[in-house]
Amino acid sequence: MLVRLEELLKGKPVFVNVGVREFGESLREAGYEVVFVDWSPPAGGDTRLASLLDDLL
């Protein structure tokens, strides 16, 4: 659901956290809703393979 930046600044954003958990935790502690992605490197860390898979899917 696209929210324009001007609208986002007036409301209360909902976050998706991808990576270092503390970024999301600090937002959650401040009262914001955060969805945590359980991230690990795609295709076993092979970025070329990951990009090929992205093109296929």
Binding site: M1, L9, K12, V14, G19, R21, S26, V35, P41, P42
Partner: protein, 540 residues
């Protein structure tokens, strides 16, 4: 003494979590050293350099890759074996998702899956290793999310492609290398606890935005919203895409009464477009292009009262963050900015400190956690004709051939790529700065140390405490040589931050450190000391 590695295949954890795991293990009796790292090529090299891997005979370690976790342990045999007997128990403590209002049964594995469960998400906060960042940012944009991209090590071409795609979709990419933003009251990334108020920020620098917002808070005002852009946004290659989007958004934002633009000197092509955009903004603008040549924004200053003016409708330029804060406060209070006062007693303090030094002491070493504060300090030195080395040199300053080794007088940005690859930022993990500080203390030519301490939600729980031992050790080393090491610092934070601004300042003052309310003031004091040092050689 035993040394061994333990490899857990296909286990990935972020670097901050792993730093905490390593610290917990290292605190065990009998453990001398512990590392917990993803087995990237760089990290494996570091571990091999520390003597792990058994000269290639540790087959499991040799076969490990970036998707695998390595624990590397050194200590008494029994203590090492005790950890090795159940490594997973160390990896589960604290890694479990903290309970939120509506915890999900299983966390999504991708941005797409996250959006399927929560279609009202609006911002992706991405901090994966740089080589994977573009993929995740693109996925987020395609799901209609704005992107806060903390990751660095993204190419200019990729940055341009992401930002152009965001613009076409009506979105923004804040970053790469974006440290801070304030979105609808939420402090994202390395942000401090500051009150909301009428002052908006568009900033290409995280620590610049932190310093600015904290000084605004301390002056009794507050921040409406803050849009980070990433450090390269105003380069000609990127064209200021996110800066322009940010200015548009704050111009339309009813809570924002004045827009402060904190940036590094823009590219020539972008400067013209930026000046044109700022001149037609309906709200007053405070422009703080740190390190820019004085005439680079000729014609931008627009007096109040011209057509299109909002509250004040003027553009005013500042050369330091402190000055920008003064102008922004004046714009919202309709009072004239008070020029900063020179404190005459500082000269007396400087003279007394110099009097205790040995003649051989002639260099300054600045060790910065905040890249912008390193940059601002150089600008303040340059304004007095002083030249220093730096790994992030401002125009007119000299490069530092090896950032790991100081040379003459130098200012080191310890958040630069070379220091953070595979390890947390120095605002979180002080260990590299601690070692560097001890190293500087052992150099008899050092007269002054300039430090910054950055508080905030994600920063270390005790940034000052992390370095106190190293500060004392450096001071003691100078005393043993019959001299005096003058340690100068500023603390960026508020008393609402968990670390507590006053408590952190007090701890520094008790250790004999001269503490200033801002980096500009601390660097200004150091500049006076350097100018007053007899036979000074700022470069060397």
């Amino acid at each position: 003494m035993a040394r061994r590695t333990i490899v857990r295949k296909n286990r990935y954890f972020d670097s901050v979590f792993l730093m905490r795991v390593a610290r917990r293990i290292a605190a065990q009796p009998g453990i001398r050293d512990a590392s917990a790292l993803q087995a990237t090529e760089a990290n494996r090299k570091v571990l091999i350099g520390m003597g792990y891997g058994d000269d290639g005979r540790d087959a499991e370690f040799s076969a490990s890759g970036p998707n695998d976790l390595v624990l590397a342990l050194e200590g008494e045999k029994a203590a090492v074996e005790a950890v090795a007997a159940d490594p997973d128990s160390w990896l589960s403590q604290g890694s479990v998702a903290s309970a939120g209002p509506e915890p999900m049964a299983r966390e999504p594995r991708s941005v797409r899956e996250a959006i399927a469960g929560r279609p009202d998400c609006s911002v992706a906060v991405i901090s994966v290793p740089g080589e994977h960042a573009v993929r995740e940012a693109r996925a987020a944009l395609r799901e209609g999310l704005h992107v806060f991209l903390f990751s660095s090590n993204v190419s200019v071409d990729d940055e341009l492609a992401l930002k152009a795609e965001a613009r076409d979709r009506g979105l923004i990419v804040m970053g790469p290398d974006c440290g801070t933003a304030f979105l609808g009251g939420a402090g994202v990334g390395f942000a401090n606890a500051v009150r909301r108020g009428p002052i908006g920020i568009v900033g290409s620098s995280g620590t610049g935005m932190q310093e600015f917002s904290c000084l605004v808070h301390q002056a009794g005002s507050g921040i409406s919203n803050g849009i980070g852009t990433g450090s390269r946004d105003l380069a000609d290659a990127i064209g200021g895409i996110s800066t322009m989007t940010g200015i548009d958004a704050l111009e339309a934002d009813p809570a924002t009464k004045v827009i402060s633009l904190l940036c590094k000197p823009p590219g020539k092509g972008v400067t013209a477009r930026l000046v044109e955009r700022l001149r037609r903004c309906a709200k007053p603008i405070v422009l703080c292009p740190l390190g820019a040549e004085p005439d680079s924004f000729q014609g931008v200053d627009r007096p109040a009262g011209l057509p299109g003016s909002g509250v004040g409708g003027e553009v005013r330029t500042a050369s330091t963050i402190d000055e920008a804060v003064g102008l922004a406060l004046a714009a919202v209070s309709a009072e004239e900015a008070v020029p900063p006062r020179e404190d005459a007693s500082l000269q007396d303090i400087a003279s007394a400190r110099i009097g205790d030094m040995r003649p051989a002491q002639r260099y300054i070493r600045g060790l910065f956690a905040g890249g912008t504060l390193c940059y601002q300090s150089q600008a303040i030195f340059r304004s007095a004709g002083l030249v220093v080395h730096s790994n992030a040199p401002l125009q007119g300053m000299l490069g530092l051939p090896d950032p790991l080794e100081s040379s003459g007088s130098c200012f080191v940005d310890m958040g630069a790529e070379i220091f953070v690859k595979g390890r947390p930022h120095p605002m979180i993990d002080a260990s590299l700065r601690m070692h560097r500080l001890v190293q500087e203390g052992n150099d008899p030519a050092v007269a002054l140390i300039l430090l910054d301490f950055i508080l905030g939600a994600i920063s270390s729980r005790d940034p000052v405490g992390d370095l106190l031992g190293a500060i004392r050790s450096a001071q003691e080393a100078a005393r043993r040589r019959g001299g005096h090491l003058c340690v100068v610092a500023s603390v960026c934070g508020t008393d609402e931050d968990a670390q507590g601004l006053q408590a952190q300042k007090r701890a520094l003052a008790e250790a004999g450190v001269l503490v200033f309310p801002s980096n500009a003031k601390a660097a200004g004091f150091c500049r006076e000391v350097m100018l007053a040092l007899p036979d000074r050689q700022e470069v060397g």
